[in-house]
Amino acid sequence: MLGRKRLSVLGLLAVFALVGAACGDDDSGDGGGDETTTSAADSSETTAAEGDAFPTIEGVPGVSDDEIAFSVVGIKEGNPLGTCILDCYVDGIQAFFDYQNEQGGVFGRDLVIGEVLDDELANNQARSVEIIANDNSFGVFQATLIASGWGDLDDAGIPTFVWNIHAAESAGREAIFGNVASLCIDCLGRALPYEAQSIGATKVAALGYGISENSKVCAQSSYKAFEKYGPEIGAEAAYLNDQMEFGLPGGVATEVSAMIDAEVDFVTSCMDLNAMKTLAQEFDRQGYIDKVTLHHPNSYNHGFVAENAALFEGDFVSPGFIPYEADGEGTDLALVLERFEASGIELTEHAMVGWINAREAFDAISGAGEEFDQQSAIDALNSETSYSAGGLIPSIDWTTQHEPQSADGGGGPALECSAAVIIVDGVFETFASPETPWNCWDNSNRDWTEPEQIATP
């Protein structure tokens, strides 16, 4: 058990990465008008059209005349959050592969998952090195809490598609493709102030874990965002606590009292979903739950919010992709929902991330052409300047966005976008309209402006 214990506690530290990542600026690609969103169906027709006329490829790991094999690494045993990560992630990948294979695969080959490895929290590097040594996977998918093996995969030139909650491990890695671009933990975003403005909040608090640099900087950045934009929206940065104890074992009574004393009515947090429940319970105990709105970084979990509907009523949550609740016109969302329903897949964060990553892998191979190899697939995706995985995520400029955006917004994408949802009676509703779920701001001017609501940024 210490394995579990040790790994779990290590994992608790890793969770901070998750928290920080979710707190990161949801900056998107340029969202330019010339971006063309290609649905999975369209692209598959193109790639499958020539049937078995495709050339034999030799010497490329995981590629045969019939198949292109991928490995999946993720966290299952020892997951301290208790959330469905690896299984749900694999569901999403498999759903996309099944769909794409029905369309003829890619260059006459089926996309298959060769091996699924549980990294048990602390064995990510060992599992990654094992995949490198086995030399039988074209690419790797990773959804893990400690990404110690990403560097090895990148060094080995293996295209790796990841649930990107790890700013440090993905930064500058040209072969690592996340469901979001390289994260900017310390950027001062406008999405949070806009949420606060929308509910007429006047005093704002920011909370983060002291033990995690990710979470701590995330809380500080959120607080600074309100210092910067607060005067424009009539809200004041009133309380900052970036020294919360992880897991809140001693409760949050004193912190909540301090926030109530400061008349806080909007709390933005860089803590995990379990801590958000503890926080909401304490507000409830002190009779303040109806006067405060919380912003959750990681609570896009339908079962969890349904279970705690009363505590979370009116709160904001930020998924990193187009919410399931959006209309999704012009995107692959309808296809995702259809395939998930057909396969009995639950609508979870990680299922969607799996689908997005699988779509990235497919697009990388498609872009490389019929005589593809690992490097050409990496190069192909890295040549995309406006990549949105079928409109499911804000566009990413992969020519630049392996590097984090600087804190002042320099070097980043053209638009800053967020597709928040609100919890109403225990279910999610889009914050913006379902037709245009993304609130976006122009990054060339970081001054306060009202957002533009966009369907597919």
Partner: protein, 703 residues
């Protein structure tokens, strides 16, 4: 500084600190109960609490049982059953074992019990499924007796049980013959038996009682957490030790007061410190750095400064000063022929392994075996601290991390050669080790172990956050990346070359440790382990020897940590060096052999290779000549590793030299006896050749 309403704020903070204080009190009282009735410093209290809490959760939440049967099964059936099993099969045989031996076994149980329960019951934490208490709507119905702060039903129940336990148990110990018998059995089971008291039965009852209390505490505390995982319980136990320590582990009222006091002190601290920092900027550094680590700071302070602890050693371990010195390693006792044969075998075996590594192994196996060699180097630090000095240090992970972070910082800031930085890191770790040892030297035994655990948590919560240690914003955006070195014509970015370097470092450190053991310093440590008073009488300074032991041990750990970071090309603190990692390291080493180099080597191999070879079936696939022939139960859950090594540590009390050394001793005797019989010159009186020697307890085999 004191605004209007300050007294109301104080009172509110006291009320707010009471629920967490009651949790600490509940655990501290249970901890004291176990110690009073069993004499065991039971770090596994949290594990026992977790098992009952998880069972209750499974029955009540997942299977939707009614409260009463769920409570009866989890607390009044399962918990005492666990206590009885532990007493019957483990602790009954350890009544006269040293406190340190019992501590190691408790750590082993901490590792093994939750994993075993999870495996048997199939229990897993699930987000959104929250533990519930033993009263309906325990977390949603509140009572506000003072109009300042409301208590939930669950919290009131925790307070009532904690207070009731203090009163009830206190009365039992003071006024009943059973209470007296339980204390007597701990003090001297033989004398108790002579007085007609059935020591075994009393001991069994004591374990059942304390285990039931652990189970009850677990079920009551569980609603504190939104997901149910064992580490949360262990962390609470570590914090609650401070409260228990205030009463020297024997006073229930003091444990209760200590627990409540800690909760209230922390609440007051967190209420007023932010206000004071507005007026006194110098307090910022305390607020910024100490707030998350406050429980561990309190624990360390209690251990170092509380008068009862400073003098506790004599009171809790009366035989500590008269332990016989441990036997010499078997390698120094065997016959010349067998020694030669062993060496030849060793050379052939390691030559074979090395040739496999250089000519056959793929990147995966080179990675794992290199890691095993480096972990073996780190484990040599435990060989020095525990095997030679006889002390338990639970902060070896922190020392190793210092080595790793030094390499990262030196390269990141000055682009220093990482090998040079590794040596520098080892020296810094040695200095820190010596400094840490200063305030805790006089503690010894279990208190020294707990003090080092507190330091490990402090390092984890505070020191790693400093930008000049963990990297701050630099690590946030780029990680703690470390390159492979070059040295003249040698490019260690090649995995095989780096493996060779890791082997060389291990061999050099091993040679150093052996020289240390065989030299004057080793003799001094042996003397100190035998009798500190006698050692002092011949001019050996215990303080100086222990400081040196700490420093040397930290140096080795730091060097190993640096090598591990270079190997992985990243410090990977959360994966490699967190406090609980060091607990498992200790278990591995003491289970196998804490006094020999090959013990450290095998522990390193076990840490890195057990998972792929055994649990994932690589070895069996090789035997069966195909992975496809592996039975379907492969891969086996990684939790079995912790069950196995956790339970193996149980052997520590009987064989403190470790299973490996014990096995070697037995094999050596058998081989010698066989050789003698073969020559037809057997002499059963030869003390070197008799089986009885190998079967005897270590304490009786003093050379």
């Amino acid at each position: 500084m004191f605004a209007a309403g300050v007294f109301e704020d104080i009172f509110t903070a006291i009320l707010q600190g009471t629920p967490p204080g009651a949790v600490y009190a509940l655990i501290a009282v249970g901890f004291v109960l176990t110690y009073k009735t069993s004499g065991v410093f039971n770090l596994a209290f949290g594990a026992q609490a977790y098992v009952s809490a998880a069972m209750y959760f499974k029955l009540r939440v997942e299977d939707e049982w009614h409260i009463v049967p769920a409570l009866v099964i989890s607390v009044f059936v399962l918990a005492p059953a666990i206590g009885l099993i532990l007493e019957r099969f483990i602790f009954r045989h350890l009544r006269t074992a040293s406190a340190v031996s019992k501590l190691v076994i408790a750590i082993g149980l901490t590792v093994a019990l939750p994993a075993l329960f999870d495996l048997i019951s199939g229990f897993e934490a699930v987000a959104g499924l929250t533990p519930v208490g033993i009263i309906e709507n325990g977390d949603s119905v509140f009572y506000d007796p003072f109009g300042l702060y409301a208590f939930s039903r669950d919290e009131l129940m925790q307070m009532i049980v904690a207070l009731g336990a203090v009163l009830g148990l206190g009365l039992m110990f003071r006024f009943t013959s059973l209470g007296l018998s339980m204390r007597a059995v701990v003090e001297s089971p033989r004398l108790t038996e002579l007085a007609g008291v059935p020591a075994d039965r009393v001991s069994a009852f004591a374990w059942a009682l304390s285990s039931t209390f652990a189970g009850m505490a677990g079920v009551l505390i569980a609603p504190q957490f939104n997901t149910l995982i064992a580490p949360d319980f262990f962390n609470l136990v570590v914090i609650a030790i401070a409260a228990a320590a205030i009463g020297r582990l024997v006073s229930l009222p003091w444990a209760f007061v200590g627990g409540l006091g800690m909760g209230i002190f922390i609440a007051l601290f967190k209420t007023f410190l932010p206000r004071w920092t507005d007026d006194y900027a110098w307090l910022d550094i305390i607020e910024d750095n100490l707030t998350p680590a406050m429980p561990f700071v309190i624990l360390f302070a209690v251990l170092v400064f509380w008068p009862g602890i400073r003098h506790a050693r004599e009171g809790t371990d009366p035989l500590a000063g008269v332990d016989p010195p441990p036997p010499a390693p078997i390698a120094s006792e065997r016959s010349a022929g067998l020694t030669m044969a062993t060496r030849v075998f060793g050379v052939v075996f390691f030559s074979f392994i090395l040739s496999l590594m250089f000519f056959q192994a793929d990147a995966f196996w080179i990675f794992l075996v290199t890691q095993a060699v480096i972990y073996s180097t780190i484990y040599l630090s435990i060989t020095v601290m525990t095997g030679l000095a006889g002390q338990i240090s639970l902060c070896q992970g922190a020392f190793a991390a210092i080595g790793g972070f030094t390499v990262f910082q030196m390269f990141d800031r000055f682009e220093m050669n990482v090998l040079l930085a590794a040596v520098l890191g080892a020296f810094i770790a040695a200095v820190v080790g010596a400094l840490v040892s200063l305030p805790v030297l006089r503690l010894g035994g279990i208190w020294l172990a707990i003090a080092t655990l507190a330091f490990a948590y402090f390092f984890d919560a505070v020191v790693v956050k400093f930008s000049w240690v963990g990297g701050g914003n630099t690590s946030l955006l780029q990680g703690t990346r470390v390159p492979r070195p070059t040295l003249g014509p040698f490019d260690f970015s090649n995995d095989k070359t780096f493996f060779a370097l890791a082997v060389i470092v291990f061999v050099v450190v091993s040679f150093f440790v052996v020289q240390l053991r065989e030299g004057t310093f080793g003799a001094q440590l042996k003397a100190l382990r035998g009798s500190e008073t006698a050692a002092e009488s011949i001019g050996i300074s215990p303080a100086k020897s222990r400081i040196i032991a700490f420093a040397v041990s930290a140096f080795i750990a730091g060097l190993g940590g640096a090598m591990l970071s270079i190997h992985q090309e990243n410090v990977n603190y959360a994966t490699n060096f967190v406090p609980l990692a060091a607990l498992f390291w200790l278990l591995l080493v003491v289970s196998l052999s804490s006094r020999t180099v090959d013990g450290a080597l095998q522990a390193g191999a076990a840490f890195s290779l057990f998972d792929p070879l055994i649990l994932r079936g690589e070895l069996f696939a090789w035997i069966l000549r195909s992975p496809d022939r592996l039975p379907s139960f492969f891969p086996i859950s990684g939790k079995w590793r912790f069950v196995l090594f956790g339970l193996t540590s149980v052997q520590f009390a009987k064989h403190p030299e470790g299973m490996l050394e014990y096995g070697k001793r037995k094999s050596n005797a058998r081989i010698d006896a066989w050789l003698v019989r073969r020559r037809g010159t057997g002499d059963d009186d030869d003390p070197e050749l008799t089986d009885s020697k190998s079967d005897a307890p270590v304490e009786e085999t003093t050379s």
